[in-house]
């Protein structure tokens, strides 16, 4: 019988199942970061347990670390303690830990693929909801809580119930100026932030196939914003080409690996529990106007008119969001001005994102009305690559700040934080109240749209941009 990729990976990883209980699912890769792991390591110690497979466990520090001079110690004592705790826990357990001064350091969802740790057909977990990113490689990857982190550390397995599957097919060719970020925001706008709850999503269709691996990661990354724990894309030649020669493949024969990886792709004619279709030609550059990623619209449109929203709960939520965002009803998106811009995150902090943004920036300056425009690469390797291509200079000459890698202002656990009343164009994944700083207002957009807004001081339609 034809199987979809989720069914194949699930069946290959079930260690044990019995009626009336969750299945025990084997985990191939366990990624760990400093924020959601200290209590798990402590739990192991209290129970007298050990890390079962330190060789399948990989740690990085990304949430708390400064994006300024790394030769100096971390100023915030609590951030420093969390980072030191991770180092000590990894040293004790024999787990590889990419310290903030390591050339392999970066955001966990950027470095996993970059190092070749993430591969098709794997099960991957991390105490981080954006673990769905790794699904771009045809891996079943999802975020877990700290109790589950402890469970995986102790047993290299998780107790899981099989999910339902949803195919999201994006048909047709991507129009000029439309990016992976616009696709996923449009999907969330269509199915809602709980539309994927209980499902694992597989993204298919010509528009998805046409995306680079970086673009596919952007799409899978925000599956969680559609409510799905995991979103994946069947592997193909692009997947294999991206992984070729990566560090953790240890020089294994590429052809042999590619042949094996190809077997994970969904079979022709396989079935899903639900199918959603979108037409790529109808997708505009997307901008969020509210405090949930589903509160999103096209750049040629306006903020909502409350009287036009039928459902009472939805209208109440929109009213509350407009109030928080300090926006009136029916305001054209391109009239919204910003005073901050954040470029980076596990959603859009990769080399292709930086290249796309640099093309827009070349020959322009950041608007005088924009007080801060941060460019934060997703990893040290991304940063070095961009510098080798001279892209850092393009940003710096235009008045953007070029920083060290990390999660930075996506969630503002380090010093990169919005002040109350700031309005920020952000390439990150969440526009929740206070996410980037208490009282801060976030508009989610693609990399090109973010830097264009920083240059003009307000949102513009990137399809009309004059490139230098």
């Amino acid at each position: 019988m034809a199987k979809n990729i989720y069914e194949k990976i699930w069946e290959a990883h079930v260690v044990h199942e019995e009626p009336g209980q969750d299945s025990i699912l084997y985990i191939d890769r366990h990624y760990v970061h400093e924020v959601t792991s200290p209590q798990a390591f402590e739990g192991l110690r209290l129970a007298g347990r050990k890390v079962r497979r330190p060789d399948l466990t990989f740690a990085t520090m990304d949430h708390n670390i400064p994006t300024t001079d790394r030769s100096k110690p971390i100023e915030d004592p609590m951030s420093a303690q969390q980072v030191e705790t991770l180092k000590a826990n990894c040293a004790e357990a024999g787990v590889a830990c990419f310290d903030m001064r390591d050339r392999r350091n970066g955001i966990v969802h950027v470095i996993g693929p970059e190092l070749g740790l993430t591969q098709p057909g794997q099960t991957i977990v991390c105490g981080d909801s954006h673990t769905s990113t790794h699904g771009a490689f045809g891996a079943l990857a999802f975020g877990i809580g700290t109790s589950e982190v402890e469970h995986v550390l102790a047993t290299q397995t998780l107790l899981q119930k099989k999910s339902k599957t949803m195919e999201i097919r994006v048909n047709g060719a991507l129009p000029h100026g439309i990016t992976a970020k616009d696709i996923i925001l449009a999907i969330i706008g269509k199915i809602g932030t709980a539309g994927g709850t209980g499902y694992v999503i597989e993204y298919t269709g010509d528009a998805i196939r046409s995306l680079s691996m970086e673009g596919r990661m952007t799409v899978c990354n925000m599956s969680i914003e559609a409510g799905a724990r995991a979103g994946l894309i069947s592997p193909d030649e692009k997947t294999f080409e991206y992984l070729k020669g990566r560090e953790y493949l240890n020089g294994k024969s590429h052809d042999a690996l590619a042949k094996q990886w190809a077997t994970w792709a969904s079979d022709a004619g396989c079935a899903y529990d639900r199918v959603v279709e979108l037409d790529a030609s109808e997708i505009e550059p997307q901008v969020t106007w509210g405090t949930s990623p589903g509160m999103v619209t096209g750049v040629t449109r306006t903020t909502p008119v409350l009287a036009e929203i039928g459902d009472g709960n939805t209208r109440h939520a929109a009213e509350k969001a407009l109030k928080y965002m300090d926006l009136a009803e029916g305001v054209p998106i391109q009239k919204i001005t910003i005073n901050k811009m954040f470029f980076g995150s596990c959603t859009n902090g990769r080399i292709e994102d930086i290249r796309a943004a640099a093309k827009v920036v070349k020959g322009y300056k950041v608007s005088p009305s924009v007080e801060q425009a941060l460019v934060v690469p997703g990893s040290q390797q991304v940063k070095l690559q961009a510098e080798a291509e001279g892209l850092d200079k393009v940003f710096k000459e235009a008045g953007f700040e070029w920083r060290e890698a990390g999660c930075s202002m996506c969630l503002a656990m380090n010093a990169d934080i919005l002040q109350p009343g700031d309005r920020c164009a952000s390439t990150s994944n969440r526009n929740f109240e206070g996410r980037q700083g208490k009282g801060g207002r976030t508009h989610l957009v693609s990399p090109a749209m973010a830097v264009a807004a920083a240059i003009k001081g307000h949102f513009v339609d990137i399809r009309d941009w004059k490139y230098n």
Partner: protein, 195 residues
């Protein structure tokens, strides 16, 4: 893990859709390395004014809801980040049961792993409960997990569904790692087949 069997407690309303874990506990409190002591950080940006005093506009701050152990809320509760600090903060504050029409998946699982019971009820039942809670000071419910019922102050009951395995784990307060390790031989055998 603390077992959950029956619970009688005051119900506190939180009328908002899509309450994300950044609202349940903002990021500045995720830097701690402990598992307890998060009660003062729950709903921090909504509960407190910038000067640190309780915000009277936040409904749950009303004296009538002090000591509540059941949270009544709306769709997609707990969306966003996987931070288990969210159920820790709720539990540390005193909540052991949540009533909502739907939850985000990771948060839903995290609750069970902390001895908490998130119950899914139809939207119209939730709307009715919001009315009753506001109409009657001291409104409390009794949640009976073995019987899978919620008893109202007037004696009427609401039945609810719960996954049988999660129910067993909650009733017994089972340590899931211990449960899995009963099958350690199978894990070892599985690892051998993969070389």
């Amino acid at each position: 893990m603390k077992p959950f069997t029956t619970l009688t407690g005051i119900v506190a309303p939180l009328e908002a859709l899509n309450v994300d874990t950044d609202q349940i506990i903002p990021k500045q409190f995720l830097k701690r390395i402990e598992r307890t002591g998060y009660e003062d950080f729950l709903f921090f940006d909504w509960r407190f004014k910038p000067d640190g005093s309780p915000d009277p506009d936040f409904e749950m701050n009303a004296p009538r809801y002090l000591g509540a152990s059941i949270l009544l809320t709306k769709d997609n509760f707990g969306c966003g980040s996987s931070r288990e600090h969210a159920p820790w903060a709720l539990e540390n504050y005193g909540f052991r049961c949540i009533l909502a029409p739907s939850y985000a998946d990771i948060f839903f699982n995290n609750c069970f792993n902390n001895g908490m019971l998130p119950i899914v009820l139809p939207a119209n039942v939730i709307e009715q409960l919001f009315q009753e809670v506001r109409n009657q000071e001291g409104y409390s419910l009794t949640v009976d997990l073995p019987a899978q019922t919620i008893t109202k102050p007037d004696g009427s009951t609401i039945a609810f569904e719960v996954d049988p395995f999660k129910k067993e784990c909650l009733l017994n307060g089972w340590d899931q790692i211990g449960l899995t390790l009963r099958h350690e031989d199978k894990i070892t055998a599985f690892e051998k087949t993969r070389g």
